[in-house]
Amino acid sequence: MADAVIVVALLLVAATATAAVAVRDPVSQALVLAVLGVALALLFTVLQAPDVALSQLAVGSALTPLLLLLSVRKVRRQRKGRTE
């Protein structure tokens, strides 16, 4: 019974990771990745690794989506400039 939290966290991570792969649009993928980062941090906390969770949070919740969105923006701009 004490493992219920671990099972729920694992299921959450599995579902979110599957969604991150299945979603095709890069912008939506960035959103799913943000949730996946936080879910992974939760899993690490549940597995009693709070320091790993802290670094995962710092990278996963804001930095990865920011990088992805910036690249999407740059690609869109270049494409727009090429068609004009």
Partner: protein, 152 residues
Amino acid sequence: MNGWTVTATAALAGGGAAVVWGVATGPLRRRVIAQNLSTTLFCSALLLLAQGYGRPSYVDIALVLALLGPVGTLVFARLLAEDLDEDPPRARALTWRAVGFGAAVVLAACVATGPGRAMAKLLVTGALLIGGTLVASRALAHGMPKGEDRHG
């Protein structure tokens, strides 16, 4: 397994499923709302788990998430402003419900901790969480200044 962990498990199972469903399907506006509210849900769950495990240092993770989660949502609100402009995401009832859950969790944890430094940290976390969620959902609903306006 005590009441805190049971509550955290129930909240994660129910709210987590809703968040994953919301963020993986539907139009973009629904996805950003789900991402915003996932911060509130996971932060409350982390606070509950810190109480359940009897480890006050786990509150640090919730504090960092309360700080960084709204920042992530603001990044989306800023960089997706053009996509969200014509159909701004609004979910006032849902946002207030999530914020209310977060406030209830913070209050319960404060009552269980008692006065002291730990309670101050919990209150700071709660204030950051509630303020951050409200600011982020406001930025999503009302839009942000676009880059083109400033850079010309």
